[in-house]
Each structure stands twice: as structure tokens, then as C-alpha cells.
């Protein structure tokens, strides 16, 4: 997106985060590569990338912790870094693993952070601790906190800003299963209040369960973005078949218009359909079943797994790896 286009859109409203051509290089290595990222306000947005693909670097640039090599960015309509103070006033952020002053209690750590914010921030400390599930442990020194408690305290620190935008970097790291479920509910409740959440993660399942939309990133470049449903549906679909004669089934299905490839997978046949939407995939599965039956073959089982973001993510990132290897 050109700078002029971006400014026009920001003036029109609608985006909590907007980057254009955002790039960060460390010497000869490009960590973030011309990222155009429009994050709609009032949504949970996932920034999904494998480890080392530039997630944290992007977040650090958004927060003004490190300078961008080129490109522009806006937070809540304010240009960063030019209007950084105004932009960050209503932003709560957790970049990398949350760190604290270990010799202070959880509550005292929040007091330190609140002091750097507006006066009202101090009045939000107890509410933030309560919401993060830390009210009972806030008087303990952070040195005694587990990784999960530190993660919760990091979230509480974000809430001190009464944030319109939360930027969370791998926020479920260190949480146990119950904590993860609780965290998802909390994020959704924040979004329901009209806040925007940008969540970076290397876990497609987390993004799928929490977010409304996502960008898939590989080696610093956004390679796909859209709503979760759109992203998942864009990927190739597979059918797993259990038939009497897998070798013959492969021959029968070769040449079927909906089939990209068919191969034996042990006693099963794996059929790749290519990028098809939900109804078309079901129609193709039914047609495949009819063709096999028409060829006199017994079909014991046919699985058409639901399209998931994880499949799409792995498909994209593996394809990129294959391209690099080639």
C-alpha cells in the first residue's frame, strides 16, 4: 500500500494497526520484509509465523523499541514513531516473554509501569490483577512466580493502559491447558468490549481458536492474510480412503477432474483435491465415492477432514521451504 493510500484509509478509520512496506534489516538479513498489514479495529488478529520469521521484530517496531529500516506504520491512527507517545497511550503490549523486577511484588511491578502512564493507570492496578487472575498472589515477590504467573502478570500490565489495542507476543507460552483456555476466553472478552488484539504466534491452533483474522508470515513476508475461514478454505483439501484395493483405486481416480493427485498411504489412499471450497469438496468426495463404486470397488471408509488453518499454514510454510531448497 502506498503511503498516500494508507493515510487516506487511516483518516477514514477502521484500522487499529496499519503498516505499509515495513522493513527491518539486520546487516544483510531481512527480518521483516515489506509488510503491509491492515488490522481491523475491534477484532482479534493473528500474526502467524514459524519461529524466527520476524514476529517479535515487527512488534518491536510497532512499539518503537527498535527503528524500522523503511516503511511506515500507524497505531490507532497515529504515525509511529513521529506520534509515538500519543499512539501508545492506549496500547498495552507484551513483547517477547514478560520480564519484571524480581525483587518487587507483582503489584509493585505494576505500580512501576503505571507510573510511566497516565495518573488513572494506578487506579486500574487492582482491576487488572483481578482480571488476570492474580489478585491472590499480587503481594508476593515476582522472583517466586512461575512462568504462567509471569505471563498473567504481563497481561495485567497490558491492561493498565485501558488499551484500545493489545499487542501480545506468544502470549500462551508457559500457560498450562486450563490457563490457555482461560486466556482465550479473556482475549475474546476483550474483543467483545470493542478492543483490538494483535496476537503473534507460531501455533495455528491458537490463532484459529482466538482470532477473527490472521496474516501468515514466512521469513518476514506476509504470504497470505484474511479471515480465518478464508485462509483455511484457500488451502488444498485431502480425502483419506479405505478401499479393498488401494493400487487400483489410485488408477481409477487418476484423471478425475477434482483430483490433483492420488497416492497409496499404507492400506489407505490419500487423495489431494487442490484448493476447493467446502461444498465443492463435499461434492468431489461424493463423486469419488460413486466412481470407485462404479468401478466395482468396496469403499470401507471416506474421511474429508475439515479445512484448518494449521493445514494451510503448514502448506504455505512447507512450500516456501521447498522453494528455498530448490
Amino acid at each position: 500500500m502506498k503511503q498516500t493510500d494508507m493515510s487516506r484509509t487511516a483518516r477514514a478509520g477502521g484500522y487499529a494497526v496499519q503498516t505499509a512496506g515495513l522493513t527491518k534489516r539486520f546487516g544483510g538479513r531481512t527480518a521483516v520484509d515489506r509488510v503491509d498489514l491492515p488490522v481491523p479495529a475491534g477484532t482479534a488478529f493473528g500474526y502467524l509465523a514459524p519461529n524466527g520469521a520476524g514476529k517479535t521484530t515487527l512488534i518491536r517496531m510497532l512499539l518503537g523499541l527498535t527503528a524500522a529500516t523503511s516503511g511506515s506504520m500507524r497505531l490507532l491512527g497515529h504515525l509511529v514513531p513521529a506520534e509515538r507517545s500519543a499512539a501508545l497511550l492506549r496500547v498495552g503490549a507484551m513483547a517477547e516473554e514478560p520480564r519484571f523486577l524480581d525483587h518487587l511484588t507483582g503489584r509493585e511491578n505494576l505500580r512501576i509501569n503505571a507510573a510511566a502512564r497516565e495518573p488513572a493507570a494506578r487506579g486500574r492496578i487492582e482491576e487488572a490483577l483481578e482480571r488476570a487472575g492474580l489478585a491472590g498472589r499480587a503481594g508476593e515477590r515476582v522472583a517466586r512466580y512461575s512462568a504462567g504467573l509471569r505471563q498473567r502478570l504481563g497481561v495485567a500490565r497490558c491492561l493498565l493502559a485501558d488499551p484500545q489495542l493489545l499487542i501480545l507476543d506468544e502470549p500462551t507460552n508457559g500457560l498450562d491447558r486450563a490457563g490457555i483456555v482461560e486466556f482465550r476466553l479473556m482475549i475474546r472478552s476483550l474483543v467483545d468490549e470493542g478492543r483490538t488484539v494483535v496476537l503473534s504466534s507460531h501455533l495455528p491452533v491458537e490463532v484459529e481458536k482466538i482470532c477473527d483474522a490472521a496474516a501468515i508470515v514466512d521469513r518476514g513476508r506476509v504470504v497470505a492474510q484474511g479471515s480465518i475461514a478464508e485462509l483455511s478454505a484457500r488451502g488444498a483439501r485431502f480425502i483419506m480412503l479405505q478401499v479393498g484395493d488401494p493400487s487400483r483405486a489410485v488408477m481409477v481416480l487418476t484423471g478425475h477432474p477434482a483430483v490433483c493427485s492420488a497416492s497409496e498411504d499404507g492400506h489407505q489412499v490419500r487423495v489431494a483435491l487442490g484448493p476447493v471450497a467446502g461444498d465443492a469438496a463435499r461434492s468431489a468426495a461424493a463423486d469419488i465415492s460413486r466412481r470407485l463404486a462404479g468401478a466395482g470397488m468396496d469403499v470401507y471408509r471416506l474421511d474429508l477432514p475439515a479445512a484448518t488453518l494449521e493445514e494451510r499454514f503448514l502448506e504455505i510454510t512447507h512450500k516456501m521451504q521447498d522453494e528455498v531448497a530448490a
Binding site: A41, L76, F100
Partner: protein
Amino acid sequence: MSVVTIDRVSPRPRPRAGAAAGRLVSAEFLKVRKRRGLVAWTAILTGAIVVAGGVLALLHAQDPAKYGPAGGLPNLASVGYMLSLLGAVAAVLAGATMGAGDLQAGVFRDLVATGRPRLALFAARIPGALALLWPLVAVSWAAACAGSVLLAGSHPRPGLAVMAQGGAWVLLAVTVAYLIAMGLASLAGSRPVTAGILLAWQFAVTPLALALSNLGVPREGLLTAALNRTIPAGLLPGQRPDPVGPAMPVTVAAAVIAAWALVPLAAGAWRTCTRDA
């Protein structure tokens, strides 16, 4: 996907700069006063002269012929000089901690991410720790002054003006040491490195350089030489420690002290504002 339309978020007006700075200073004071080890060492170092005075008083009481009075002007001068050295050690420890503490703990980035200017975060470290150092030094000096009057014996008693000037000079020495340490720690980003370098400079390099008369007048550029030149005349009538050549004018000494304080401070401020958080 629902989209909430927003325009530029109109931030609530920032509070007055003074109030905002006050909260930051208060937060820095919280950080430093909760460091039990640092507080204990500061109390020990600054309180050592009171203990030493007590021992001298006991010795004098037991054997007045052998041990002179613990108080009086000459002893107050010695106590002032010792307090400036020990207070400077405490100041170096505090400065190194305050300058590099946030960075090493990893919380500097979270403070920067609040949008508060980095320079404001840096500046708050100065009064934040001095709020701990000054009272402890002042209490020790007050105790030393009281002892010097009450236990003067045959020695001349110090006047109020001398006591006030001496106290101000000790506070100056401690403050300068703190500013240097805080600035260098902010520059280096390491507490142990900063403390190690400064203590070695103060207790090994400086005495050696002052003792090497071949180095001549340039030795007056050393902080200790400049500070010695500014010791209140009433505290050391007719004598000066470590003379390093022709008497340096007080204005030059003041400029040397200011340079020693401001150059590391400026370097630390620059690094704080430019480093990746």
C-alpha cells in the same frame, strides 16, 4: 468479521509534566528502596563513620592520655573526608544499579512501550536514588557533627557554617559519584562492569596518578583533585589533601567536577534514547 470503525484515537490530555515526573521519580525510589542489599550496604558504608566515632570516644574515655578526643574540628574534617569516600562507594553501587537495572531485568522495553519519552525515564533515575542516598549521608554527617561538638574536649569546636559547608561538600562528592555511575551504567548497560571500573578508578588509578608527581598539572583534571580543592576552607584550616601542583582556582575545580558529572550523564542519556529497547 465485524469491524469497529475508529478514527484517530484522541488521547486523554497528558498530565502536567511535573506531576508525571513526580510519579516516575516515586517509582524509581520504590525500585531502589526495595533492594535490600543495596540499602543495607549504603547504610553500612555511610554509618561506618558513626561507628568509628563511637569507638574513638570509648578509647578516649578509657585512656585519655593515649587517645585524644573523638570530636572537634580536626576529627570532623577526617570524618567528612571518609564519609565522602565511603558515600561515593555507596553512590557508585546505587548508580550502577539504577543505570543498568531496568535494562538487565528486561523491563526497560516495557517502560518504553508505555510511550513515555526515554529521556524522562532516564532523568527520573537521578532524584529517585538520591532520595535514598542523601538522607543516609545527611544523617551520618549530622551524627558526626553532633559528636564533634559534644566530644570536642580540648579540640576547637566546629561552627554551624563549617558544619553546613562540610555537609554540602560531602553531598556534592556523593552526588557526583552517583551521576558518573548512573551515566556510565546507562551507557554500558552493565551493573558489575560499571561498578568494577569506577571502584578500580577511584581506589587504584586515582591515588596512583595523584602520587606520580611526574604527571604534573594534568592531574588536576582528576575528579579527586578537583573535589579536594573545593573542601570548605573552614574544615581544613591551613592544609589541603593531595596537593597536585599550583593551587587550582576554585572555578576551574568546579568546571572539572561539572565535566566529570555531566559527560557520563550525557553519554548515558544519549545511549538510553538511542538503544534498541
